[in-house]
Each structure stands twice: as C-alpha cells, then as structure tokens.
C-alpha cells in the first residue's frame, strides 16, 4: 500500500447486502469517491449474489472479496469504513478508531439492528444512512465530528461470572 492511498472499505459481514454493493460499485459512485479524495474501494461482499467488476485505472481502483478469516487489516488500512449494521463490524471498526458510516439493510426482517446504529449515531460515534441517501451523506458529513467509542469491559463480565459460579 502506498503512503498516499486513501481506501474506502465496504463490509457486509456474513450476510448479503446486494443493494449496497451494487450502489457503491457503479461508476458514478466511484467517481464521487474519487472527488472526495479516495483512491481505492475495497468491498467485502459476503454471501451476495451480485459480483462487482474489479478495475484499476490511474488514481483509482476497485477490488472485492467474499470472506476472509479476519478483516482487521482491511479496517486498519482504510480511511473510511462503510458497513452493514452488524454489531461485529460496527464494533470492530469503532474499536479500531476508524470513521464509520453504517448503511441500514431495510430488507432484513425485524430490523432490530437499527436500534444499535441509531443509538451509536445519537451518541455521536458514527454516521448512518440508507442506500438512498448514502451519496448525500458522504458529501455532507464531517468525519472530525465523530466521537471515539470506548471499548467494553469483558473483565467485568469475568468477575461477575466468577462470583455467580463460585470461582475464587
């Protein structure tokens, strides 16, 4: 990776989210990203049916993959992460201190994931969008206004469990 590369990483986790993948891989969207100063678009498309067309041209390239054991490195290398609302992807991104835009998958049944995205949005940790307003959001948002999300404390859970299970 070159020093000046600015990557947008789009991730859908273990699900499929074709509307999002289709939206971001069309040429006008790539052009928008380029205008915003990004040089690379990397897509993790999960179980999606739709496969985008990878391309490389001077100043911009699009690549994709389905799954990896870990996407930690891709998040680390990204300047911006666009994710589905899955807790794992959200928390991994916020944990890595990367700016995050969550796109709500409106086709999922009983869309409780909105609750988390909404709360994290209310608390100022991320931006959220739907496929229909993602473009606008990317143009208008101010990444520097996002607040860091403090990590959870699994050690508190361990102490709680030790107590209730009678472990000394």
């Amino acid at each position: 990776m070159s020093e000046r590369e600015k990557c947008v990483f789009v991730t859908v986790g273990t699900t499929s989210f074709d509307p999002l993948i289709e939206l971001v891989s069309i040429s006008t969207f790539c052009k928008l990203l380029e205008e915003l100063g990004y040089t690379r678009l990397l897509l993790q498309i999960g179980r999606g049916q739709y496969e985008p067309e990878a391309f490389t041209k001077p100043g911009f390239r699009l690549e994709y993959f389905r799954f990896k054991d870990t996407i930690a490195e891709d998040i680390q290398n990204a300047s911006l992460v666009i994710s589905h609302a899955g807790a794992g992807s959200c928390l991994e991104t916020l944990g890595a201190g990367k700016p995050l835009v969550v796109v709500i998958n409106e086709t999922l049944m009983n869309n409780h994931q909105l609750e988390l995205a909404n709360q994290l949005y209310k608390d100022g940790h991320l931006y959220y969008a739907t496929c229909s307003n993602l473009r606008h959001l990317l143009k208008d948002m101010d990444i520097s206004k996002l607040k860091t999300f403090p990590p959870g404390q699994p050690e508190k859970f361990a102490a709680f469990l030790d107590k209730v299970m009678g472990v000394s």
């Binding site: 409780h112 609750e115 709680f160």
Partner: protein
Amino acid sequence: MASVAVLAVWFVGLSAVLALLRLYFVFRGLGKDRNPTAASSGSIRTVVVVGSGGHTTEVLRLMSGLSDKYAPRYYIIAETDQMSEEKVHRFERETHPGKKDSYEIQKVPRSREVAQSWLSTVFTTLYATLYSFPMVFRISPDLILCNGPGTCIPPCAAGLLMTFLGLKKVSLVYVESICRVETLSLSAQLLYYLADHLLVQWPHLQQKFPRTTYIGRVI
C-alpha cells in the same frame, strides 16, 4: 373400567403435583449466587453457544476475560457456519496457546437462518432440538453461556431439563447483544424467567426489564 380411569387421573394428578413441586425448587434456585457443584470440582464445564457474524464476535469478547477454570469449553456452532468455526479456533490459539484439548467444537443444525419465516423456524428448531439434547446431556455442563441467536434455545432447553430432573444444576447465563438497545431479542424473551442471569448492555434496557442485570458494557 371406572377404577382404571380414577387411577389414571390420580396418577396424572400426582405427576403434575410432583412436576410443579420440582419446578418450584428449580425456580427457587435460579439466580442463586454460587454454584456448589461447579465450585467444588475446581473447573467449570462450559458450553458456549456461538451464533454467527456479530454474535460470534460478541461471545468471544465475553470469553476473552475468563480464566482457565472455565474448562473444558464446548463451542456449539451451526453446521453451516464456517467463519465462526475459524474464529473460535483462532480465539483459542490466542487465549489458551498449547491447550488444544481444553476445547471442542460441536456442530448442530441451524434453528433459524437470517430471514427464515417463523413457521418453518418451528420445524427447524424442533430438528435442532433433537440434535442438541443428547449432546448437552453427554457434555453435562455446569454453565451454558449464550448471547442471542436462536441456536441457543435448544441447548438451553436441554440444560433446563437437566436441572429440572435434578441431574445437575446447569447455570444459564444469557448476555444480550449490544444490538439490543430498546427491546429484548426473541431468545431473551423466551429465557426471561428461565435464565439464571440475563445481562444487558444498555442501562435503559435494564430499567425496562427489571429481571435483567446491568454491570456496565461488557462487550
């Protein structure tokens, strides 16, 4: 003939009374601090029900703080979930290096795929249940730890049955996903009166559901 009927009614009545009595004792024991069986043997046989995607990440975060006393660890994973299996192996390599025999992965049919209809969910859950009961009875866990997906219901039911039958006190600890900000998941609603401890990640959710516990964000 009449005497047979009377006898049958009497027998059913007696069974019902005994079952209710047993239920009373099981319920009285729920949520009690200290688990004598587990504490005396020194190690806690632990079943971890792994969901998929975000649930897996969450449950492994929870596991990351636990001591070596929680062993052996049996991870129950839906058979179609290759990604979670990899995550568990990697987690174990990192947190318990060189202790390959302190954990096992058990595969079960999925109770419910994302976006599967509720009606067909009933049948797939029944199928998953048939699979889970002998598995959990064989493992005979002290603790079942889960955090949400439908996959956790059959093992939890098996654990409850073991407790009900007096075979072993199986503690059910359910940790609600951080996704749940305003409402409890279906699994948590099912286990609301049955789990020994039900932890939530947001204080206002605890206020809505007083039987839950909030000890800070643990995921």
